[in-house]
Symmetry: D3
Subunit: 126 residues, 6 copies
């Protein structure tokens, strides 16, 4: 198994819905370091999993609509409870659309929300 990963970050505001979230029900915010990794069973003719420049660009374009936004008022996310887990999956889905499906590959998206907490979503790149 080969893998390639790149990271970027976004700064957003949001609030979480549900008593479970305690003070995080208030409007607050986060810097998310976004780490994405593509794993595949073989390398291509260039000895790579994926063109890292292409992956970096796809990630930046995927994150752009979230950057410096209040997620509570973003039409793109209307009605969603934007937990870190949810955002991992939302970015995963958006990245697959940009990169195109690859049935043999797996895409993992990790959001680091603070020096001691993070979430991840991993599923086939499809």
């Amino acid at each position: 198994m080969y893998a390639v990963g790149v990271s970027d970050h976004i700064m957003i505001a949001h609030s979480l819905q549900g008593e479970t979230f305690g003070p995080a029900q208030r409007l607050h915010g986060a810097t998310y370091e976004v780490r994405v990794e593509i794993a595949a069973p073989a390398l291509d003719a260039d000895n790579i999993v994926v063109d890292i420049g292409l992956l970096r660009t796809a990630l930046r374009e995927t994150l752009a609509p979230l950057e410096y936004q209040n997620l509570d008022e973003l039409p793109l996310l209307a009605g969603a409870n934007t937990t870190t887990e949810f955002l991992c999956q939302w970015i995963h889905t958006a990245l697959v659309k940009r990169l195109g499906a690859r049935l043999d590959a797996r895409l993992s998206v990790t959001l680091v929300e603070s020096p001691n907490a993070w979430a991840r979503y991993a599923a086939p790149l499809a």
Copy 2:
């Protein structure tokens, strides 16, 4: 697959038994950064894997009896050769007791013992 992780740390003294350990057979110590991650196939109604506050508290309570202790003299660990691998598993078992079993979830415990060494134990949350 979704996952959520949190980290904390402890500072302990101990010695390791067996020639394999060379100078680490002497009484010495470590700061362990403890990183725990729960992975599950689906989110609950709140769009989370687990309540992160609950996970953080469970981890703190699990680590408390080890904090600022000499593990060689801790009744809780009597007779154990407290390698980093062993401590990962001990914390795993103690965390499962606090969190309760979840047959569909997997718990991973990583201890980072220095800027260039770490160990991990991962098994079902059960």
Copy 3:
């Protein structure tokens, strides 16, 4: 010169006022890792600059009113343009009040706002 430092973090929402800030004029947010350091010319009878537990508690209590808040609506910060530099200084002032003045010591407050940007305010602990 001796120094002791501790770190903590907060997650907040805010917006910045002024064309200079471009898209950061929109309501967004940040995780700030807050690193504070006290420097002094000599150690006390306990061989320390300051009781690290006391410093950690003072920092936590100083940050508590900002935690999970929208700074734009926080009476405590009414009228302020809450840039990272400003927040460093605000925390500095609040920490001095909690710790008490020490004419020979210097307090530095650093806020890391993303993997590649930070700000700092340093001045006498007075």
Copy 4:
């Protein structure tokens, strides 16, 4: 599953062949942080996956022939397009030779090439 990991680093020059690589086709260089991890289903009589001193030494010896070299002119790598993915696998193969095969264990080699990019190769320790 138990795992143990250690890290080291090398500083090398190389160029990449193929239009995909854009400016990285020019002779340039990298500091690679090399993180290796061995995972196994059980601990040995010493409560460890592998002697960490032995693993550290094997990694150092494996990296030594690459250290401070221009990979484009290294006979050891003649004809190879030395992408980060390729180097992960090359180090994996060389480490297995030093450590000896262990059918029940898995070896993962990660190269971190910059603050926001990395690659990995993971396969049985055999």
Copy 5:
């Protein structure tokens, strides 16, 4: 004293001249994480030391001519022994040209060349 900092990175090849450098006399390379910080005694009307977007752009433009280059053959650095210390100062000088002199401010440039080595040059922003 207020300060603002941003970081970026470059990947270069070079060799060092002089017996002091041992194996680093061979053509090798490095990923340099470049951390720059501007310190000033007061904030401007926007509550900032410097426009962080402007600083980030100035740093990127300063680093661009070094990116993916073999410094031994770069006319810009002809005749120089490109130690990490030297590169810190070279980047400092180039950044001052882009940012313009500010007599009250100080600019510090740190290059992190590996997980355990770095160099810095700090001088007035002039």
Copy 6:
């Protein structure tokens, strides 16, 4: 001002004397990441502050007598209350002996004891 820094680490046991230290009065331990930096006003003929290999070796030799030790029973430190601040100064003194005095240079020694606490001692390299 130019500076060069290197880091290493040690794993030790110790206890702290005095009610101030609360639970840290018990025998416990720490992994200390040790970061040392030499600052000087000018570079030598090789464009460096100090030979980094020489600095690394001097640091390793300075730390060796502390490595895997219980500081409470180390004759070298007899009678000392081995706080992090004290250890910074002790390492500073020992490093100056190995490196030799340089009247124009300043040596800073930082010990990172956990992900959120550190201490430092800085004084002339003399």
